[in-house]
Subunit: 406 residues, 2 copies
């Protein structure tokens, strides 16, 4: 099999960890697999570099910050190649530019536009093991770019697609996706297989193990991702196309995100284009709006409520104060102590009454639901942050996800 | 004027030092000069990276060590560009590859074959200030290469030639070339102007302020080098074509090198090809032979004595022991406590008796001369290391180089 193996920051966080990573690569090669490695910077290194840039200039130019930060992954790639060579493996390190990663868009948030992979493919055919610096590429003008935090996952998946790999293995410090956060529910269970759609819902809800863009990309090209631990040699979670081999529980997991704030605009004249008036300036300010709910409240007037990340709360409120007059809104209210709780599962498609059951469970716990939004495979509610643990625990139990006590 | 400014490791050794470097660049721009900057890695950084590589594998593959080490200069270039941008200067960092440095030859010892400088020239015309990572390039296969220790000087001079600069300013932690080592002769005097040929003799004798290759390159293309301090705003030493404006003292300076060892091969049959038999294997082992003296000692037999760096002494002796039989030599002797002392000066060309005077001075000091070698502008003697200070002091004084006491 041809496999892209991606190792995150903690998996290459020290020379000792890089040696362990080399163990994994070596044993995969011994099994006859063709391996391309993608690495992150050693944990802490990206922050060290960014802090130097900030100490120099709090508003350091993004082009230069990218050039600076990109060295982090190059260092890891070279060190891992050195260790593999020591073992007699024909490894070669490549920067993103050398590996053919072409990007477009802004510095620090670039997107991969193309991977000119002929060079790497040639190396693979010669029996070499390319070790590629993740998270980076070059734009059409030859400037070094980075893909934004977590972008190494996307590098790995994009590369796997470009070189027609059979699978992309993403090694990290967790051993898979769990039915919910084990810190909240001690008998949460590891999910063996999960569909891309479900993984996307988990990722967008703050399960930080896989970058959303990498999952979207894998889904589009049907590239299986094996999410696994570089610390323990156990099977992880396989992210793949939904198929009949997947267990069809009603729901797959319960997710939550505490990083939520809620903003309500009261009494806007209800006519076409009002949403554009509200969300145009918000989008322009690069604030990510998540859940949006609109109700007709009085004759000819409407209320709009939406959630944003807490870090954007103050900016959002300030922005809406300046646009309130133009929106002809009566008032702007906010609350930055809310959280989202979601149940996720492709099983919902064939089971009825899942949302109703969720509301019943929360009602029984006397947890007030402030907003509701649903998708085909997810039901999300916004609640007071203080009830998150209680909500997650009761939902996990009532939907039958608790592992039997052993 | 169009000037390449090169800053060495100590000149960019901390964020504070990088700010001082930005001061120098900024004031040059204010004088209306067009500036391209070349930087070394922050002092200590190259060693930090090499130590990581060695800790991984004492014989780490050179290709990977180059890729690793090259990040050091990239970091400095980005940080300096960030600081210049903060001051409103349109600076842009470039890796060696981005700046168009093409190399050939071995990793860690690559030579610049070409600089594809159109990109940088275009930037200059736009009023940008390119900040280039020195010491590095890419070979014909796209591998990152480094030029070897001190290679940033060569990067700077080569770039100055490629972009037709008027001058190459090399900023370092000394403020110029002195008539001898001020640690040995307290009233040594700074040399205002020195010819390339003299500078080469100083450099090859261990004056580590300028890499020999950079001076050779500057000489071939008549590129003036201003060697100066980034710590003190004083004039340094201008290295340039010999011309009538230079003072014509008999000698320009006294240099020495303690890092010498002497090897003598006794009683080799004296026939053509013997030197090749001796020095072929030595060169093959990449040992740099310096002074060579050959005498006819007995009828049909000859002795050969040569010097090598002390670090190569043991290897040289061991090598000659294995080839002694083939050379039909009677014996191999060695001494690793010798040193070289040289007097240097273009003035020798028009002054007679310079060598004789040197021998007289040393004789008066009762210092025994073991080997002598001369060039058009240099006389070198090999003596016991313990007499170096005494020899340098007396020569400096007797050739009238001591500064008048103030």
């Amino acid at each position: 099999m041809r496999i892209v193996q991606k190792f995150g920051g903690t998996s290459v966080g020290s020379l000792e960890r890089i040696r362990k990573t080399a163990d994994i690569v070596e044993s995969s090669l011994q099994e006859g697999d063709e391996i391309i490695v993608v690495v992150s910077a050693m944990s802490g290194e990206t922050n060290r570099l960014i802090n130097m840039a900030r100490e120099m200039d709090a508003n350091a130019q993004p082009r230069e910050v990218d050039a600076l930060v990109a060295t982090g992954e190059q260092v890891t790639a070279a060190l891992l190649a050195i260790e593999l060579r020591r073992r007699g493996i024909k490894a070669c390190s490549f920067s993103g530019a050398q590996a053919g990663f072409q990007t477009r868009g802004n510095h620090a948030k670039a997107r991969i536009s193309n991977i000119e992979s002929r060079h790497l493919t040639k190396r693979l055919k010669q029996g070499d093991v390319p070790v590629v610096a993740g998270f980076q590429g070059v734009d059409e003008s030859g400037n070094i770019t980075t893909l934004g935090r977590g972008g190494s996952d996307t590098s790995a998946v994009a590369l796997a697609i470009a070189i027609k790999a059979d699978r992309c293995d993403i090694y990290t410090d967790v051993d898979g996706i769990y039915s919910t956060d084990p810190r909240i529910v001690s008998n949460a269970s590891k999910i063996d297989r999960i569909s891309y759609e479900e993984m996307l819902e988990f990722a967008s809800l703050g399960a930080k193990v896989l970058q959303t863009r990498s999952v979207e990309l894998a889904m589009r090209y049907k590239m299986p991702i094996h999410l696994r631990s570089s610390f323990e040699p156990v099977e992880g979670t396989l992210v793949m196309e939904e198929d009949e081999t997947m267990e069809r529980e009603t729901i797959t997991g319960v997710a939550y995100n505490r990083d939520e704030a809620k903003v309500t605009i009261l009494g806007i004249p209800d006519h076409p284009g009002i949403a554009a008036n509200v969300f145009g300036p918000v989008a322009h300010a690069e604030i990510n709006v998540d859940v949006i709910v609109q109700n007709v409240s009085e004759k000819g007037f409407t209320d709009i409520t939406f959630t944003v990340p807490r870090s954007d709360y103050a900016a959002t409120i300030a922005l809406l104060e300046t646009t309130r007059e133009k929106m002809q809104a009566r008032d702007v209210l906010g609350d930055n102590t809310v959280a989202k709780v979601s149940i996720i599962g492709v099983g919902m498609r064939s089971h009825t009454g899942v949302a109703r059951k969720m509301f019943e469970v929360l009602a029984k716990e006397s947890i007030n639901i402030q907003m509701i939004t649903t998708s085909e495979i997810k039901v999300t509610v916004v609640i007071e942050e203080q009830y998150v643990d209680q909500a997650v625990q009761s939902l996990h139990r009532e939907f039958g996800l608790d592992q039997p006590e052993t």
